[in-house]
């Protein structure tokens, strides 16, 4: 079936696989059965129980061990003659540098986050090695091919930024369960069990509320000699009671919104102190428990608990966490596989929802939201892995004309479940892989270097830590280890007009802009221009070359049926992850912009995506 040429290429190919999870297991198996014999595999994760429904190289007794290592051992059992090198490491670590990547004929990604994908993309470009990218979400999947100079790189089309919420929605005016989950995770859980030194809005709210009711200064801290139970009771009354009352005082906020209801334990669970005493006496001692739910007799994680039971779980989980993890308190980070953390966050989110008139959810659903859990099954990964290998073979035999981006749908579209699309040519103004330099029209006698840095390099090119050079002279750079006299030089450079710089910038000068962290570099060809229209060109500078300026959710992958960004669907973090929108919005104000898109826009986009995909489909089908 395979030609002699293909077999020869397969036999001598050196493959780098990044990721040994859902796609990785299937991919490693398929590669090896296809005849590949030299595979390096990087994965930093360890095996979890929830992996076992699809990552079939792992067994129950492997839980906790390195995915890369166990995958290698499992495959060697049925193909002892292949060479597999497993790295239990983070692909972003410096050991996997450009030289490392240059060892391979092709790189195959089976990752689950955008950040690592972009990193690998840039290294593949730097090393000149083709990359086959992929992702799956439930029944949806895709395989894309990225060959430097021939096709788009992974970043030529901007990927949707992770969802963020305005800080005030989280701290004061939630209207959806997810807002309450983010509050429970980032504010409540972090404040009680995580880094106390981190500034936390709960503190300021509680201060307000506590001065109003003349209580202790630090109501959210366990006091000396205090029982964990009384501490938990107090925390409840503060975060769900006093704090809400304090918030209600701000009448403006509630003019057109439903007012939250303050909740106090003496109303919801008047006998709670007795209950707690009783449970200890009955042998359900907190230090022997690992789950508040099971201690309380709540067996079904898919059931929506009553407000009373949610309150019980909230209090009980605090008690058990203190009893079993007292040393770790102050350093705990929310982990979706930590049963107690999930119980605490679910209960806290539900109580807050109840207060604000938002429907409560089951632990199962809340865990999914809090942990950004993506649904996954074995079959989609198997399909995608097969497609990856087919694309890899085409690359190895330089059969680039047949390289395809393939999208796996849940329901057939135009009778096709797998939609192959020809890759696009590189985006000539892609920040990352652009071969052509950009041009900057500017009045070199009237514009300062600072203007170029702020308005062009940082704002338009999204370069965060630029190094600006003319030839071998550094005109400006940022960094922590810079020498004092260099810093002085750069500061004075910023205020100089371009023509007045130590190496003058005039018409025809080429400036290079680099960012080592991002491994990004591009050239700016300077064109002097005297006049700029004040209204149309208020910056007094024009960057030419078409590009995609704002990375908004409107610009998604052109996949019918929605984005399939691997397992990176939603990251509901209030203000932790800096997105491109954060950068742009920092200019405008304090809060991150709402990236929620309404249903009409969603539908429009879906129609547009389908039309575009169909157009492309027609192009590739016409060839047959």
């Amino acid at each position: 079936m395979a030609s002699a040429e293909e077999l020869a290429a397969i036999k001598k190919a050196k493959i780098l696989m990044v990721g040994a999870g859902g796609i990785g297991c299937e991919l490693l198996k398929t590669l090896v059965l296809t005849g590949f014999r030299d595979i390096h595999l990087i994965d930093m994760d360890t095996i979890e129980v929830s992996n076992l429904n699809r990552q079939f190289l792992f067994r129950k007794h492997h839980v906790g061990q390195s995915k890369a290592k166990v995958a290698r051992e499992a495959v060697l059992k049925f193909r002892p003659d292949v060479n597999i090198v497993a790295y239990h490491a983070n692909v972003k670590s410096t050991e996997f540098n450009v030289e490392f990547f240059q060892n391979f004929h092709v790189v195959l990604n089976g990752l689950d986050n955008l950040d690592a994908r972009r990193h690998v993309n840039r290294l593949c470009l730097a090393a000149g090695v083709p990359l086959v990218e992929s992702g799956t979400t439930g029944y949806l999947g895709q395989v894309t091919v990225h060959i430097k100079g021939k096709t788009e790189c992974y970043e030529c089309q901007p990927k949707p930024a992770p969802k963020t919420y305005p800080i005030c929605t989280i701290t004061s005016t939630p209207s959806k369960p997810v807002h309450c989950v983010v509050w429970a995770k980032e504010l409540a859980f972090t404040r009680l069990f995580g880094d106390k030194n981190q500034a936390n809005d709960l503190d300021s709210q509680t201060k307000e509320a506590s001065s109003a009711s003349e209580q202790q200064v630090l109501p959210l801290e366990l006091q000396e000699g205090e029982s964990v139970a009384s501490f938990a009771f107090r925390v409840f009354d503060y975060v769900f009671g006093h704090n809400i009352e304090a918030a209600l005082k701000n009448e403006d906020a509630w003019k057109s919104r439903r007012k939250p209801v303050p909740l106090y334990l003496n109303k919801i669970l008047p006998n709670i102190a007795e209950e707690f005493k009783g449970s200890c006496e009955n042998g359900a001692r907190p230090e022997n428990s690992c789950s508040a739910m099971s201690v309380l007799g709540l067996k079904n994680p898919q059931e929506v608990w009553s407000i009373e039971d949610n309150a019980r779980v909230f209090l009980k989980s605090i008690e058990i966490l203190y009893a079993t993890k007292s040393k770790a308190i102050g350093t705990l980070v929310f982990d979706k596989d930590d049963q107690l953390a999930v119980e605490f966050v679910s209960a806290a989110a539900n109580i807050r929802s109840y207060s604000f008139g938002i429907p409560m959810l089951s632990l199962f659903d809340l865990k999914g939201i809090a942990g950004n859990i993506v649904h996954a099954i074995a079959t989609t990964n198997a399909i995608i892995a097969g497609l990856i290998v087919l694309e890899a073979i085409k690359i190895l035999t330089s059969d680039f004309n047949h390289s395809r981006m393939t999208y796996c749908l849940e329901h057939p579209s135009k009778k096709l479940l797998l939609m192959p699309v020809e890759p696009f040519e590189p985006n000539s103004s892609c920040y990352v892989c652009s071969q052509t330099p950009l041009s900057l029209e500017v009045n070199t006698s009237k514009s300062k270097l600072r203007d170029v840095v702020e308005k062009i390099v940082k704002a338009k090119l999204s370069v965060h830590s630029p190094v600006i050079m003319q030839g071998s002279n550094i005109l400006y750079e940022t960094g922590e280890d810079l020498e004092k006299d260099m810093v002085l030089l750069y500061t004075s450079n910023l205020d100089k007009f371009l023509v007045d710089l130590p190496t003058p910038i005039t018409n025809g000068t080429v400036l290079s802009v680099e960012d080592f962290q991002q491994e990004f570099s591009c050239n700016l060809h300077i064109k002097h221009r005297d006049e700029f229209d004040e209204e149309k060109e208020p910056d007094g500078m024009i960057l030419t070359g078409k590009w995609l300026t704002s990375q908004t959710p409107e610009q998604q992958l052109n996949v019918p049926g929605g984005p399939t960004e691997g397992n990176n669907v939603v990251e509901a973090v209030a203000g932790e992850t800096k997105t491109i929108n954060d950068e742009l919005q920092e200019v405008d104000g304090d809060f991150a912009e709402i990236l929620e898109v309404n249903t009409v826009a969603d539908k429009k986009r879906k129609i547009q995506d389908e039309e575009q995909a169909q157009k492309r489909m027609r192009v590739s089908l016409d060839e047959r």
Binding site: K29, L33, S50, N53, F56, V374, H375, I377, T379, A382
Partner: protein, 331 residues
């Protein structure tokens, strides 16, 4: 229970408890355990089917080692079915595993009732003649059949089922059936509480659009002899009547009302497909009827006896710009 939930967590989020239960009640028969059959069965085993039985007469040969990871060199010369069965069992201890060292064609000839005990038969790499016979046998015994063949880079999958019913359909676009044209008594009483000409701005902009439409529809019916708007002229007039009650430009509930006005004069009807289901002979249920047909029979009785020929209300309502209390009461 918790372990099982953890293991299946990611797929439970796709098909829920009922889906998982259906899987766990399924027994699957695989005919021929070459690479095609083995890969298919592997995915089912990982998902947690109740049990499987492999039917395959062959022995493991050197060539098999190259394309099927569920046989190993230690099994050379031994039954392939046994080898695949053992390795599959490792993937999921909760799944029952059996094998029969016989050719599927021979089994089909000598003991067709063998297949009756399975939920699903997966037939791989079998010749057409045998498949036709297999299909007849399966249909008679109400067993689902899935046929798969692969040739190099091409392949086919074919589903052969007599009848497949779905009860929890989870439609992508739920149909809103608000009965705006024919409000039932409780809804009417609720609607009467509202005054869509209320002067209080906050009050006015929070009246659910469904209420607005019912009110205007009642007024229209009163003025037009009990009829609903028909024809484009009357429909335009109806919309104008709705628009006339707007008090300010950014009342979202009025925007929603105008967008959904068509629901007043074009209510959901009972489709011909639904009629053919209701009129199917299977509606005359008996002791072996499936849940699906029992539900259909109940539906038919409801429509005839309780509902004047109408379908029962779904109870789902679309998003409405309003106070939460009103929406809750509506629901």
């Amino acid at each position: 229970m918790a372990q099982r939930n953890n293991k299946y967590d990611r797929q439970l989020r796709i098909w829920g408890d009922h889906g998982q239960a259906a899987l766990e009640h399924a027994s699957v028969c695989l005919l021929n355990c070459g690479p095609t059959g083995s890969e298919a069965l592997k995915n089912l085993v990982l998902g947690g089917i109740g049990s499987f039985t492999i039917v395959d007469p062959s022995r493991v040969e050197a060539a098999d080692l190259g394309n099927n990871f569920l046989v190993s060199w230690e099994n050379l010369g031994q039954s392939k079915a046994r080898s695949v069965c053992a390795l599959l069992q490792e993937l999921n201890e909760s799944v029952g595993a059996k094998f029969v060292e016989e050719s599927p064609e021979a089994l089909l000839d000598s003991n067709p009732s063998f297949f009756a005990s399975f939920t699903l038969v997966i037939a791989t790499q079998m010749p057409e003649k045998a498949l036709i016979k297999l299909d007849e046998t399966c249909r008679q015994q109400r067993v689902m059949l899935l046929v798969a063949r692969s040739y190099g880079l091409a392949g086919l999958v074919r589903i052969c089922i007599q009848e497949h019913d779905v009860i929890e359909s989870k439609p992508d676009n739920p149909v809103d059936d608000l009965r705006l044209h024919k409000p039932w008594p409780e809804l009417k009483r609720f609607v009467d509480q509202f005054d869509i000409d209320a002067k209080d701005q906050l009050e006015h902009q929070h009246i659910p659009f469904a209420i607005i439409l019912v009110k205007v529809a009642e007024e229209w019916k009163a003025a037009h002899g009990g009829r609903l708007p028909s024809g484009s002229k009357e429909r335009a007039e109806f919309k104008a009547a709705v628009r006339a009650r707007k008090q300010s430009d950014d009342e979202d509930n009025y925007k929603e009302a105008l967008a959904s006005a068509y629901k007043v004069w074009a209510p959901p009807t009972i489709s011909s497909e639904l009629h053919s289901v209701l009129d199917d002979s299977a509606v005359e249920i008996h002791s072996t009827s499936t849940d699906f047909w029992i539900l259909v029979a109940a539906l038919k009785m409801f429509m005839a006896n309780d509902a004047d020929g109408d379908l029962p209300l779904d109870g789902a309502i679309p998003d409405m710009h309003s106070y939460t209390e009103y929406v809750v009461i509506l629901f």
